[in-house]
Symmetry: C2
Subunit: 278 residues, 2 copies
Amino acid sequence: MNVAIVGLGVVGGSLALGLKGNPDYTVYGIDIDAGTLKSAMDMGMICGGSRESQEILPLADVTVLCLYPDVVSRYVEQNAALFKPGSFIMDVTGVKERTVAQVKKVLPPEIDFVFAHPMAGRENRGIAFASGEVLKGANFLLTPVPSNKPENLDLARKLAKDCGFGRITEVTPHEHDRNIAFTSQLSHVIAISLINSDTEEYDTSSFVGDSYRGITRIASINQDLWTQLFFGNKENLLEVIDNFQKQVALMREYIADENEKGLRQLFIKAARRREKLK
Amino acid sequence: MNVAIVGLGVVGGSLALGLKGNPDYTVYGIDIDAGTLKSAMDMGMICGGSRESQEILPLADVTVLCLYPDVVSRYVEQNAALFKPGSFIMDVTGVKERTVAQVKKVLPPEIDFVFAHPMAGRENRGIAFASGEVLKGANFLLTPVPSNKPENLDLARKLAKDCGFGRITEVTPHEHDRNIAFTSQLSHVIAISLINSDTEEYDTSSFVGDSYRGITRIASINQDLWTQLFFGNKENLLEVIDNFQKQVALMREYIADENEKGLRQLFIKAARRREKLK
């Protein structure tokens, strides 16, 4: 199966590494940056690559768009005539309802589009940070739409498994966006808000333990990507921020009142939930 | 030098492991639990131990109290006559102003007390989770008081270095508590509030990536210990919670308004600060 990966950044590069050496796949790369293509060739991620989509897309049985959310539908529109008839496209974006709606308007009828979200981001960007290892056992979300052919969904699942992903979950685009607002986007809002709330009265680095380091690890994010992700899932994100703020306010109240019983209940609830997550 | 470690839980056990095999130290253990003492002997952490403080304390040049914050001064008071004259005591508690004030009232004049906070906690409790590895390169805070003898502060520093700690920082008890409220306690408030704000409408575990796992890693905490830590540093903790909530509210506003410029400024500030932390 010929796979074209469009955008060899940290996500596209990691997927390419995940498939590297697997005889079921012949992987090609498309990227606007010649240096990135050269790196991908040198690292054996791809067997061929080009800056020109028309050189690669007509060969591809699967085209994986590893592009920023706002660019996905535009890329499909601009290259509509180049996709191989009967092939399918996948994306990797972290917002789904908006992407599905945008793609629907421009997708050629003979091409299928399987919407996917491999949950294996990194805090760094670019091909240099690509890693097949981060995919191992990670969650992979599929958001099927009525127009999807079952065999293409099967191929997408196989591709995810072959890359090393663990649990593959199918959800509606709506469920996806609600959940991702909570598990991914809210975590980033928290990390950034925590580090930005440092009064810098002291040299914080002398006082940090693993807890602060762990929470703020994701505070350094790709601005372009995350602005699009946050705005593209605004309503859900605002709702989970509000839920979170209420919990912080409740805990603040119990601490202010030295309400030991209330505080212990919050501790117990959190511990029980964290256990389930393991 | 004879070292008595009082309380062979995860912290006391880790310190004992940090000193294991070092010919400069002969380490004894005191614990209320016979099984814990046996484990410590079996693991070679201590060369002798007892449930009875009077059997060990008179031998000790340094007594390290690895006890809950609220118990520290009581232990000193109850065992005041047993400490070796000229020896010194250390603690490991995460709140300092209150501990210093409480100990001051009960400390025998011939005994010195060096207040310390090794920043190498674990999310689990008990000797089974003790690890010398977690000490390696970790921050160690010393909060000297005017009554401390310089040679005892030197010995405390040497002990920390020998255990493997990295940066050793001296601060006042007040500075300690202000900083710890931010770098440690607030992180725990956040982790617990995040996991407790889950509406549980879906099976969250299918949707989590490293970010959510990383933040909530510390959500399962020792209730007894953390109730004492939070209430023992209440004013500072409430202040940093308020600062944090303001930052979350600001970010929420920028997302609601799709204020791209404002959001990017928050991203840039956070990324710059995270870089400095490495």
